[in-house]
Subunit: 362 residues, 2 copies
Amino acid sequence: MVDQNSSSSRVSVSELARFIALALERAGLPAHDAGIVAGLMAEADLQGSDGHGVIRLPQYVKRIRAGGINTRPHIRVVSERAAMAVLDGDNGMGHLVVSRAVDLAIEKAGVCGVAWVSTRASNHAGPASLYVRKPLQHDMLGLYFAVGSANHLPPWGGSEMLLSTNPIAVGVPAGNEPAVVLDMATTVAAYGKVKAKAKRGEMMPEGWMIDRQGKPLLDPARAGEGFLLPIGGHKGYGLALVVGLLAGTLGGAAMGRDVVDFNHDHTTPTNTGQAILVIDLKAFRDPDDFKGAVDQLAREIHGSQRLPGVERIWLPGEQSAEKRVRYVKTGIPLAPGLVIELNELARDMGIGALPLMEAAHM
Amino acid sequence: MVDQNSSSSRVSVSELARFIALALERAGLPAHDAGIVAGLMAEADLQGSDGHGVIRLPQYVKRIRAGGINTRPHIRVVSERAAMAVLDGDNGMGHLVVSRAVDLAIEKAGVCGVAWVSTRASNHAGPASLYVRKPLQHDMLGLYFAVGSANHLPPWGGSEMLLSTNPIAVGVPAGNEPAVVLDMATTVAAYGKVKAKAKRGEMMPEGWMIDRQGKPLLDPARAGEGFLLPIGGHKGYGLALVVGLLAGTLGGAAMGRDVVDFNHDHTTPTNTGQAILVIDLKAFRDPDDFKGAVDQLAREIHGSQRLPGVERIWLPGEQSAEKRVRYVKTGIPLAPGLVIELNELARDMGIGALPLMEAAHM
């Protein structure tokens, strides 16, 4: 397969994580916290979630420096029952808050069978799939809902952007096959993908965005003049709305007009909300039976009849799993524009440039 | 507004429920169970879910008479923890099994904050929204996932129907505004809507179904020659898959190739699976604050700027709520073809014809 980024610069995941951690530490995060956030951001790039990895570093640094992030948060449970908790993130980095939420949900699900943890006063936490992968290691399933960090979606029929791309992720353990990991924005494209297109200087396909007159908008540099389209029309709008109510309103986080556009406002606390639901497989049935059934389904899908011209049928999460394997070997591809931007940031912060891998013909 | 069914026959909800209950009782259900199922089926028609109400009666009766339904099921918990249970429906009517699951989830959520109940050995239970409305009465939120009762959806890029329309429903309580109730198939159209189109002799819009060559299929009478399309392409396929894993595989119910097509097979136990998640609002925050926030969001959405030509922006569940109010007053419209079919059924079973309302100009 020809990698669309084969002409890009490449960096190893460990060097990338080190670079991000150093930048975050210089910006003001304690070393331990910087390491956790950097590990998750590099992991995002490693699995191909290039709209949510190091591409966000300049923005995070800007927000931390502007005082928009609490670098010494007191993350704490503010309400709790056996199978739930609300976690106040004290305006800390979202990656730290959600990691804590996931750990707590895993612990509670181990006792009660299922557990739900909501966050409030959190922040942008990167790709949803990161957080549903952790329960898999405990023979648990994870469901994740988040309020996006900027409103790009109007209600169906409207032109006022009251909703975000509010993503859903679901992780389901398998046996020999890769885990099923769905991570989807409720819009046709996530805004991170629009940003990645802009960074690569590419046009968007029709159907991603429309302008305020309802006409297709193709140039990602003009993204500010239009809005994203929901999947399935009114259905995607409905999904975005209920995901926002579950991830935001339920836990007391921002939703609707209260959502702060973190692309343009670097100081106002975002009061971002996320929610994680963890389901302990062992409470339901024998985990091996379950994983065997998932494997069988995956094989049935892979082996099923294809439409003319289709080479392979994918399950959710398989392409990420393959990218992960490939990028561990070849390094993570970075767009030339992004490398320039990251090295400008490095100079500005007085840290070394991003150590790229030697060019190689692969 | 001109009702598209204004020329149809109409029936009051109480007469409809009585008619259905009598038919189900004659078919072999105990009177009490027949009453519960009939009430839910009539409620489906009352809220405009016309693909899942009385239209299904002939099929249910056929299945009961053929021995495909256990009319004396021993519905019981087969595994349980504080915040979860798996309920074996013993091949009883789905409406009975899911009603029990919802009651149990409400009880457990009242203690633990959230609770998940899975069903196995259940059957088709009508529209998902019925089951997320009950938690609303307890200041609780409901999420519902189900495996559809026939496979009409291939994996994305495939042409073999391994998946169903696997619906999702979410119910969120509001204060003065109607509750937000999302009920959506993960396909562009639910198969029940295809059947309703066929019954009304109407063509389907492009985008609902394609044939095995990938060409648009518009005639619902030819539905057997093609398959449904998922919302948002690969995203809807991913959603249908994970909903099936959550509603089916997790609880040990059928999924993938194991799903019995209950439109054509009236005797094989379907081993249908559903899952209900109930969230007790009171565990998270003050219910009045929450409901006030939902009201405010609803008002913001209603009052927001509209695209040219759009008269009103709807929230999920509002159209159902309005239909409910209207049909209580005017009666429930039934397509002429359906009335003929129901009266044939009545004759066949030796019960009275459906008592229609006097025609009136409305």
